[in-house]
């Protein structure tokens, strides 16, 4: 059996702009893998393309998920294969309540009874969301929206979660909290996670393997403990000299 997710020689073009230039990497079942890199490195482009949320025309190369080539497939079909993206900038539904947002996360599922139980579980996981159950998504604070976006992915019961910068714009205390939850999702539910982050320090401490993306190319890859000790990574991404 091959890797759960594998990109080989993946390119992405925004028209003439060659944003991702032939990268290859894989994620195995049960792993947390992180993709780190500076602004504009191509992290979101890669993650959104895996989830089928970019224009199919721009995708070149192969993306296989559970042995199926999904490159260029539409987002809702990929979601139905058990993959859920928590995209950059949260994207909660602003005029749906917290509860309705969660119901939408479970859209692909037809086992309503189980869904309702799982929503309660998300509320146990993020008690702040339970208190705001009937509040509109758009009126939540940034951190609460991030919890909702992650909660929405959890009720989907995916086998693979793609997370794009869950730390964006959050206070350090909340970032730590969210990353603890991410680890818990992986360890307790056995969900595989691909984590895109700018906060390299916390990402490398959460994941087991990592890839460093620079100008659309993977320049360094390896186990996270090795990356944390790599002088180049320390210098460019961890702020150590």
């Amino acid at each position: 059996m091959g890797h759960m997710l594998e990109l080989s020689d993946f390119h992405y073009y925004y028209g003439q702009i060659h944003a991702v230039k032939g990268i290859s990497f894989y994620v195995d079942e049960g792993e947390i893998v992180t993709l780190i890199g500076a602004n504009g490195a191509g992290k979101s482009t890669t993650l959104n393309s895996i989830a089928g949320l970019t224009r199919a025309l721009g995708v070149k190369g192969r993306i296989t998920y559970k042995g199926v080539d999904i490159a260029g497939k539409s987002g809702h079909n990929i979601c139905k294969m058990g993959m859920m993206a928590v995209v950059e900038g949260r994207h909660v539904f602003p005029q749906l309540t917290v509860y309705e947002n969660l119901r939408m996360g479970a859209y692909r599922r037809n086992d309503t009874k189980e869904v309702l139980k799982d929503i309660e579980e998300v509320f146990d996981f993020f008690p702040r969301l339970r208190e705001r159950r009937e509040q509109m998504g758009g009126t939540l604070s940034g951190g609460e929206q991030q919890m909702l976006a992650i909660g929405r992915a959890l009720v989907n019961k995916p086998d693979l979660i793609l997370l794009d910068e869950p730390s964006l714009g959050l206070a350090p205390i909340i970032v730590e909290d969210i990353f603890r939850k991410i680890k818990e999702i992986n360890e307790v539910n056995g969900t595989t996670i691909l984590l895109v982050e700018q906060n390299s320090n916390i990402a490398l401490h959460t994941a087991s393997r990592g890839y460093v993306l620079q100008n659309g190319e993977i320049v360094i890859e390896g186990k996270c403990e090795d990356l944390l000790n790599d002088p180049k990574v320390q210098h460019a991404y961890l702020g150590l000299t």
């Binding site: 859920m84 994207h91 909660v92 539904f93 005029q95 939408m104 996360g105 859209y107 929405r152 989907n156």
Partner: protein, 297 residues
């Protein structure tokens, strides 16, 4: 006292009836604007098509109820086909092209209507037996057209159904979600192609229903829906563009105001109504429901 009440009833009921049809058309306009930020100029032509279809089915011996239901369902699929076959391709480029494309589509469909029925206006009495039947209210000595009452009641049921569909069903919620954020909707497994197709289906079906309900009152002709489609849109703006409930209220207001102006001085009925609309929208651009439809600087 009795005379005033009588006059109000005599104006309100037909006004409300017209307003319901505008409201039905306005719902589609609001849903479309909210979801795709565009305008369907072909709505009136589809209304005409639906009314003609309903008429010809009755002409072939079908009952009023079954022909209305069939025409409404048929137009649901017409709307779906329009979206999937034409609009979705154009929408990819930019929503504004839809405005222009549907203008062209409107002319094509209206001419197809003419091709089928000619420029003849079918006499109302032929179409609907009960069009000349009145409900007599003794206390105020008023006669109200049964057709008006039926049209108002059926429109009301349709509006409530759409409300429940959008708010209480899974697919309805998905339609609202996709309208708010299509990108996030796709990531949740919602097919935005499908929600948009159903939006067009609902828009066309509601238009056709309105056409079938009131066509008999005015006589059915190829271009019968054009005004109703346009006024549905006007009502939607009046109510707060993009807000379905505002569109219903806005449509009702236009129907009633128009009827009152028609009573006061009918040659300038449309001009007065539109002038009033302009003044209103200058003073209250977000409409009755205070819907901030367009990002303002």
């Amino acid at each position: 006292m009795n005379d005033t009440l009588k006059l109000i009833l005599q104006l309100m009921i037909p006004g409300l009836c017209l307003g319901c049809v505008y409201g039905l058309n306005g719902i589609g306009a609001a849903l479309l604007y909210k979801g795709s930020h565009t305008i369907n100029n072909a709505q009136g032509a589809v209304v005409g098509f639906g009314a003609l279809l309903g008429y010809s089915l009755q002409n072939r011996g079908l009952g009023l109820i079954s022909s209305t239901i069939i025409a409404t369902i048929a137009c649901f699929f017409v709307g779906v086909l329009l979206q999937v076959g034409v609009i979705s391709q154009i929408e990819k480029k930019a929503p504004i092209y839809v405005v222009i494309a549907t203008l062209a589509l409107s002319i094509v469909i209206t001419n197809a209507n003419y091709l089928i029925v000619g420029s003849y206006t079918y006499d109302s009495a032929v179409i609907l037996i009960n069009v000349s039947k009145y409900l007599h209210i003794d206390s105020v000595n008023v006669d109200i057209l049964w057709s008006n009452i039926v049209a108002i009641a059926v429109s009301f049921i349709a509006m409530v159904s759409v409300h429940f569909f959008l708010n209480k069903t899974k697919f309805g919620s998905a339609m609202r979600a996709a309208a708010m954020d299509p990108f996030a909707a796709e990531s949740c497994g919602i097919s935005v192609v499908k929600t948009r197709a159903v939006t067009w289906g609902i828009m066309s079906a509601l238009g056709a229903l309105g056409g079938c309900l009131t066509g008999p009152l005015f006589g059915v002709s190829a271009g019968i829906g054009i005004a109703a489609g346009a006024k549905g849109n006007t009502g939607a703006v009046l109510g707060g563009y993009g807000n379905m409930y505002g569109a219903i209220i806005g449509g009702m207001i236009i129907g009633i105001v128009e009827t009152i102006f028609g009573y006061i001085y009918s040659p300038y009925q449309t001009a007065f109504t539109n002038a009033l609309f302009l003044i209103f929208i200058l003073l209250l651009p977000h409409g009755i429901m205070n819907e901030k439809a367009i990002e303002e600087g």
